[in-house]
Symmetry: C2
Subunit: 378 residues, 2 copies
Amino acid sequence: MRRLAMVVVVAFIIVLGILAQRPPAVAESVASPQVLPDRRVTFRLLAPKASEVAVSGEFMSGSKPLQKDEKGLWSVTVGPLPPDLYAYQYMVDGLKIIDPNNPVVKTGSRPSTTASLLEVPGDRPAFYDARPVAQGTVQVRWYASKALDSQRRVHIYTPPNYDKETSRYPVLYLFHGANADDTAWTSLGRANRILDNLLADGKLRPLVVVMPFGYAYAPNDSGGVGLPNSDRQASGFSRDLIEDLIPFVQANYRVYTDREHRAIVGLSMGGGQALRIGLGHLELFSRVAGFSAAVPRSNVAEAFKEVAANPKKVNDQLKLLWVGCGAADSLFAADQAFSEFLKTSGVKHTFRATEGAHTWQVWRRYLYELAPQLFAQS
Amino acid sequence: MRRLAMVVVVAFIIVLGILAQRPPAVAESVASPQVLPDRRVTFRLLAPKASEVAVSGEFMSGSKPLQKDEKGLWSVTVGPLPPDLYAYQYMVDGLKIIDPNNPVVKTGSRPSTTASLLEVPGDRPAFYDARPVAQGTVQVRWYASKALDSQRRVHIYTPPNYDKETSRYPVLYLFHGANADDTAWTSLGRANRILDNLLADGKLRPLVVVMPFGYAYAPNDSGGVGLPNSDRQASGFSRDLIEDLIPFVQANYRVYTDREHRAIVGLSMGGGQALRIGLGHLELFSRVAGFSAAVPRSNVAEAFKEVAANPKKVNDQLKLLWVGCGAADSLFAADQAFSEFLKTSGVKHTFRATEGAHTWQVWRRYLYELAPQLFAQS
């Protein structure tokens, strides 16, 4: 009886705590997004005074209008959608907003990145879902960058049991895209889940993954990115990586320190960084890949002049050169031209032309496909 | 010359990458929030079709209307504000939204938590700001909870040089409030920065801080929190902590495993949890504190019956019992009554009645004040 009374009292305390912090948010009782059993998805928004509401998201091109009921509750149903994670936003009378009823928010280093995140589950856990297997750790570290005269944040994945082993690991340097930050590969990319699952399935040699912040300096929030700023960004990022981050990782983690055990991979802006830095520093990297990489559409041979000049060296030194892009990606033509340039130059590589656009649906799958190819299992 | 050409080309690649990912967001060129040199802050929102826009935030009570110019750009200036971090939101024709021009977003486990974050810097780094000192690590770990039959996420702070030392550390279990999650104490609370700074200033004995997720089960997003659910939440959280999380921490971190080196602290809902679990498990904890703790306003003696029954035991066992609350907090009366109850019962404790409301401005300061008192420096 005393125990029961205690439980009731504790419950009361918790309720009181919850009530005390709850704002008078009418909208919170709106279920949105609601995934229906057949994987159609209903989006809702309570906005009695709005005259036009639409939803846009990675599950479709363009946008779709919502319909208003007599209480001012707007809604629309889309799909069925393939199981995946999708970013989406509302447009309310010309104002782009996130879904105020969805607590899962995609964030980055620029406001244009902010979006709500929809998860459409499948019948079984996806390759990026948590499964009851051994879990790695994601470490958030700060390191002193002499090259940039600042403290920089980096996310580092260590595989399960890293703390309890004594062996060394190969390292993957993994870069995010424009407007994102160093949280992106674990929050949106689910890199840790993907690698945990591959490891549990015996498909991957354990490795450490280093996910730095891709901007050397604060991205210009004004949106006016001039050449001088980008110039500083590119050279600053490269110097920080080579002069500060790689030495920091090697001083603080049990990783191999030779090029044979070092890979460099990125997506979009980070794909351009990975290809440029990787192909420009064969003495540091033996595996190089770009996902939907931002490479120039023309003058590729000029941009990758050192590759064109000595394709044999590239072939001799690289164990893997991989470029992937979705056919609906605005960078597809550029990536295809880059692959053609490599072919013409006689540089061995893989070009994966897949379905998909410039989205994380594509990049999660690329990581899942590529990671096992990076380092051979012993 | 060749080097210069390369730099230009690299810059071009980066620009291309940025342009490729930039959405056609007119609003992105709006500067908001803008902190003026005198620490007044201007909020802006481009919403030509809106008829009413207001801002609300932790820097004031109530809300303040924005004024529209001929281009549909709404703005208002507030302050000057004391240097601090403040959550804020816009209300646009009755719809609560975050600032679409601010990439820094406060998130949690419920949508009501979502807000934009304003940082008003001072002339010198604040106690919660990054300084050029040794930095600890924040680890994101997953552990198997037998009590809850699930994989649970936890954030764990280890002090600078943890990896390179061989000594053991005391542990602080630190809980977030309702609607938040296990990211809150590092993202909003800046716990890692506060502790790094205290350590650098020689004011703190190095410790490990464990920040679990405060809900045993998914918080009910419908907002209808009934007693049965809260009951399950409270007992589930306590069982997970005692049966799974503490053993996990002790198996994976170099921490002391005796009660003398274990503290339990929380804020709001988590303050209620810390006081209930801490005072209910003197065999496990020697330091107990609640920040703006959710304790019952009446029947305190009933809720903390074991304390009233044996105040001597509490006094003998606890090295510290600390309760703090801001005078403008809706929980102030309850916390004051709790302190009165302790006093009447003859239980030694500290009651800190401070300025402030139910906000992180208060809780960051409490951590800064309390952390050095937890474990004596050797």
